[in-house]
């Protein structure tokens, strides 16, 4: 099915620079990535209609939401959006169920069945046990799931997520990722996701727009954008981490086996999980060793044949992209600048990727990721 196009062409003076963005997207999940203070939230608020004063146009599915030239401004309550901020903003005077149904009036007017939506969303986000609770008793992660559920039950045609996991600590953030991934896969509501977390962006977005000081500096698939020389620096202190959706296979002898695609099995030291559970697997680009021949006598548990797709030099190091299988996204490996030449790495060449079990991180609902 085709999704409505969101077209944004706006300018807004901010404190230290002007926000100037021109994008059009019809992807299921579009990420807005950048360090804090880059103008990401302002952009989202303009799309939501929560920030006035922007010049330019915003249209969604052909509907004009903002056209400064003709003084047209559609107020937020008529944009059919679902907004999820960092702190959830649940209504304290309502319980969880009432919060989830807060936007049901609009959903009903749009011809939806709020009770059915509620049941579906509660199952998807595992909210059933919380329904009768007062919101003051919820944990941070539960609050965010309820906030997401409330947006989903409101008949929203576009979800606007403003760093929905940023207020949570790292392990909890990783635990909630699969919930967002489920929403992404099971519902057909397009999302605009503001994030400064490369892992979130990779795990969820089809396309990423990178903002720096109010301007779009890069745009494309998460993998391509996050390894872009310009953006690599923005991504900051952490090195690039490859993120793959996978399934938990089993746990034995203190290790966990996770399957990527149909054929690749990875051994990880960390992580609990249940058989068949959808998880995310993270492998830092710096933790992968490239071998031009199959190595022997290694302690590393994962030795995976791969084909080199691309070699790029970025910021004093080389980024090698290699493909393991047709149905698994390519891996990005960070090596010394001279390594590709020494090993004779060229696109199309066969290599082996070597990863220690301790370097494979499992992010799942029931697992505690290794620090």
């Amino acid at each position: 099915m085709t999704l409505p196009v969101l077209e944004v062409d706006v300018r807004l003076p901010l404190d230290h620079f002007d926000l100037e963005v021109k994008i059009a997207t019809r992807r299921p999940v579009t990420g807005i990535f950048g360090s804090s203070g880059a103008g990401k939230t302002s952009l989202l608020e303009i799309v939501a209609g929560l920030r006035r004063g922007a010049a330019g146009r915003v249209t969604f599915g052909g509907e004009v939401w903002l056209d400064a030239a003709s003084k047209c401004f559609r107020p937020p309550e008529h944009r059919d959006i679902g907004y999820v901020p960092q702190d959830g903003l649940l209504f304290p005077h309502l319980d969880v169920r009432e919060n989830l149904l807060a936007g049901s009036g609009r959903a009903q007017r749009a011809g939806r069945q709020p009770e059915e939506d509620l049941a579906q969303v509660a199952e998807l986000l595992e909210l059933e046990p919380l329904l009768g609770r007062s919101v003051s008793t919820l944990s941070g992660g539960e609050r965010q799931r309820v906030a997401l559920g409330r947006a989903l039950c409101s008949g929203a045609r576009l979800l606007l997520l403003d760093e929905p996991l940023a207020a949570l600590d790292l392990p909890l953030r990783r635990k909630l990722l699969p919930f967002l991934a489920r929403v992404r896969h099971e519902l057909t509501v397009p999302m605009l996701l503001v994030s400064h977390d490369p892992i979130e962006v990779q795990a969820l977005c089809d396309e990423v727009i990178v903002l720096r000081r109010g301007a779009v500096i890069a745009r494309g698939s998460p993998r391509k954008v996050l390894t872009d020389p310009e953006v690599f620096a923005v991504a900051g202190e952490e090195s690039f981490e490859n993120i793959f959706p996978g399934r938990f296979v089993r746990r034995s002898d203190g290790t966990s086996i996770v399957r990527l695609g149909s054929s690749i099995e990875l051994v990880s030291l960390g992580g609990k999980g249940t058989e068949g559970e959808e998880v995310m697997v993270g492998v830092p680009a710096t933790d992968v060793v490239i071998a031009s021949e199959r190595p022997r006598g290694l302690s590393a548990r994962n030795v995976l044949p791969a084909k080199v797709l691309e070699v790029r030099t970025v910021d004093g190091c080389a980024l090698v992209t290699a493909e393991l299988a047709d149905d698994v996204a390519p891996w990005t490996v960070e090596v010394a600048e001279s390594t590709p030449e020494e090993l004779g790495l060229v696109p199309g060449g066969n290599v082996f990727l070597v990863v220690k079990a301790t370097s494979c991180r499992i992010y799942g609902r029931s697992s505690e990721p290794r620090p």
Binding site: A48, G49, L50, P75, P76, E77, H78, R79, D80, I81, G82, Y83, P85, L89, F91, P92, H93, A102, G103, G105, R106, R109, V135, S136, R150, A151, S154, G155, L160
Partner: protein, 222 residues
């Protein structure tokens, strides 16, 4: 003269006065808490004036306005509003004197409601009016109830403005406060004691109720 009619008239005056000023004062409290507009400080000061003026001055000002030749008097309007020296005068005096308390309490209450929750409601499809009635008002409910009780209590005890505007006519405009004053003036300490005990118990009940209502509001913001 029996005490019961005095008590009933006092309760009636306070109830009518509070009901009359409640809605405008709440709206004013909301406007002061949420909106920026020209003359906001002036409006805020005017609404607080009865708190700092001697009540007799407020009563006299109202009397001036309503006097036969005043801006709201019979000669100007062409008919008599029938307020001066009637129970309606007592209502007016008590109402005006309770405005600052209600406006201030309402304003603080509305300031305690996170405006981002109102924003959130807008994104869920609520227009500004629905947002006010379904999010702001329910969240401010306890504080507004406290405002009502404070205003009502203030009206119960109103003396200066009431006595100036409505007089102290037994059976017509004499309220608890003015009855205590009269009893004390004529040396009827027994009656004054009894009236004082009634005033004490009504006032104490109201203030305790207001405290109880206001507490969860300040404590459990979210």
């Amino acid at each position: 003269m029996s005490v019961l009619p005095v008590l009933l008239l006092t309760l009636q005056v306070a109830a009518v006065a509070t009901s009359l000023v409640l809605v405008p004062s709440t709206i004013l409290g909301y406007a002061l808490a949420r909106w920026e507009f020209r003359g906001k400080r002036l409006l805020s000061a005017l609404a607080g004036l009865p708190l700092v003026l001697p009540p007799t001055a407020v009563g006299f000002l109202l009397l001036r306005l309503l006097a036969t030749r005043g801006p709201l008097g019979r000669d100007t309007l062409g008919f008599d509003l029938g307020i001066v020296l009637t129970w309606k005068g007592a209502v007016l005096g008590a109402g005006v004197m309770s405005i600052p308390l209600i406006v201030r309490t309402a304003r603080v209450t509305f300031e305690g409601v996170d405006p981002r929750l109102e924003t959130m409601a807008r994104t869920l499809g609520f227009g500004p009016v629905a947002t006010f009635f379904r999010v702001t008002l329910p969240m401010a409910g306890r504080g507004l109830l406290a405002a009502v009780i404070l205003g009502f209590t203030r009206s119960l005890g109103e003396f200066g403005a009431t006595v100036t505007l409505a007089g102290n006519i037994p059976g017509r405009t004499q309220t608890l406060a003015s009855a205590i004053f009269s009893a004390q003036q004529v040396g009827d300490n027994g009656r004054a004691d009894f009236l004082m005990a009634i005033a004490l118990s009504v006032g104490l009940t109201a203030i305790v109720a207001a405290e109880l209502l206001a507490r969860p509001l300040s404590g459990g913001g979210r």
